[in-house]
Amino acid sequence: MKQHIIVNSQTIDVLAVMMLMATVLHISTSRLTTCVWAYAIRSFILACASGLIAYYSGIYHIFITTGITLVIKVVIIPGFLFYIIKKVGIKKEVESYLSFTLSLLCSCGVILIAYYATEPIIRFESTFMRHCLPVSIAITLVGFFTMITRKKAITQILGLLAMEDGLFFAALSTSYGMPLIVELGVFFDILVSVIIMGIYVYRIKETFETTDTGFLRELRE
């Protein structure tokens, strides 16, 4: 049994690291559609990890959240984002306030901060899922970072979604998730907020002929 737990925690650790890699893909790509793909891939890995955690921990309400993750985060939200990208007709690539290399290096620094900040906590933890906490904090911080530095409204939505993913994974890996009703509320929130922001992107595009949120700061007649 002991051996069993070690093996599956390593599987979950590898899945966590794969989520981190999907996040690195998210910050390193210059194409908007690849960003959305990175989100879909990360959500899929998240669903796999939460399914495994549910299976090994025997807490079966996590299966419900896994199913909802698969439906909402892997299918509906990426599909909706692709639909918006197509509808708004965004052809330009990802734009950032920082240069590309600088933003890559900053994200690397942010991830390192996450690792160093969580180090005192995980040092005393048992071997079970030690990689998950730093990875989830890193994903949250990187999502925050992309929200701050990216210009397009859609990339900011993706940053928010990354933060939500990170927090969800942190809750899942440290305390086997929040109560089911809270999870349902969060899922509903994220779905509604993505749809509202999608409409908002469309309105920005209609008013300013661009989805660059920098224009919102300018005074207009």
Partner: protein, 312 residues
């Protein structure tokens, strides 16, 4: 005694003999993806024999560096072929050096290639050389970091010891996983495959490796082409035998070597197929986007080391 004689010969035969086949396999697979029949699997061998029989034309302004370069490149790669574990975790030239020597022997061959590209005074050679140096200055740190991650985990920079230690590692740990991803990106850049450099093009503005070897002909060209085939195979060998050393023989028994060879062919074939798929489905990135790609690889390698130190 047997180990002293058989193993070096075996490694040289495998690396030197099979490397054009890997290239042929990649070309054939790509042709299949494009719904063509493609050249024969053995086309690189035909090309090499044809080139070896031809005389070389050397520019009048070229110095001795130009004539020495093909030999330096070829021999430096040949020495690397003796330094990496191929079929057995025992390495013939084990006593001479470790993975750092391997990286710097690659750098030596590249250095001479760049010098010779400048030597003839051709404009394309200069462009190719400067681009090659720019890319390698970014690829080298990422490669070092990802290889060092494995070295730290296994506690030795000696490739033979690394393979030996990794053989007892049953599961891929998260740090190794990150380092593997970083190394795959670096290998594509180092071998000059598609997202970074197009090995088939002779268009002035895009070629990197082809630009450097544009002035070579005849047997010199054959040696350089062969060396670049061997470089790809050796990089793949380092990848599979340090990260996924399943089936590598730890002793030197005959059946062990046969099994090891079968595993080796399957693993190399898998990664060659992966390269062919990547080349068929991605376009070459713009030159100024290459730092993003290699920066990503560098970050993955840094994360690998950090993950190992902080968490494991």
């Amino acid at each position: 005694m047997i180990q002293l004689i058989i193993l070096p010969i075996l490694q040289i035969v495998v690396i030197v003999g099979l490397s054009p086949l890997v290239k042929g396999f990649i070309n054939k697979t790509e042709a299949r993806f494009q719904c063509r029949r493609g050249p024969s699997l053995f086309q690189p061998y035909y090309n090499l024999t044809k080139l070896l029989r031809k005389d070389a034309v050397v520019s009048e302004t070229a110095s001795w560096i130009f004539r020495a370069t093909p030999y330096v490149t070829f021999i430096s790669i040949l020495i690397i072929a003796l330094l990496v574990p191929v079929l057995s975790s025992t390495v013939p030239a084990n006593f001479t050096g470790d993975v750092i020597l391997v990286i710097y022997l690659f750098a030596l061959g590249r250095f001479f290639l760049v010098l010779s590209s400048l030597d003839t005074g051709s404009a394309f050679g200069g462009i190719g050389g400067s681009r090659e140096m720019a890319i390698s200055s970014m690829a080298e740190p990422a490669m070092m970091l990802s290889v060092f991650t494995v070295a730290i985990i296994s506690g030795s920079t000696n490739l033979s010891n690394i393979t030996q230690a990794m053989l007892s590692y049953k599961l891929l740990s998260p740090a190794l996983f990150l380092a593997l991803a970083a190394l795959v990106i670096v290998i594509i850049a180092e071998a000059g495959r598609i997202p970074v450099d197009n090995p088939f093009t002779h268009l002035e503005l895009t070629m990197i490796h082809e630009g450097m070897i544009l002035e070579f002909s005849g047997r010199y060209l054959a040696l350089i082409e062969w060396a670049s085939c061997m470089k790809l195979l050796i990089l793949l060998t380092i990848l599979v035998n340090t990260f996924l050393p399943w089936g590598v023989a730890s002793g030197l028994t005959f059946p062990g070597l046969i099994i090891s060879f079968a595993f080796y062919v399957v693993k190399i074939g898998f990664f060659a197929l992966l390269i062919a798929i990547v080349e068929s489905s991605f376009a070459k990135v713009r030159l100024f986007r290459i730092p993003n790609l290699l920066g990503t690889s560098f970050i993955l390698a840094v994360l690998a080391i950090i993950t190992h130190y902080i968490v494991s």
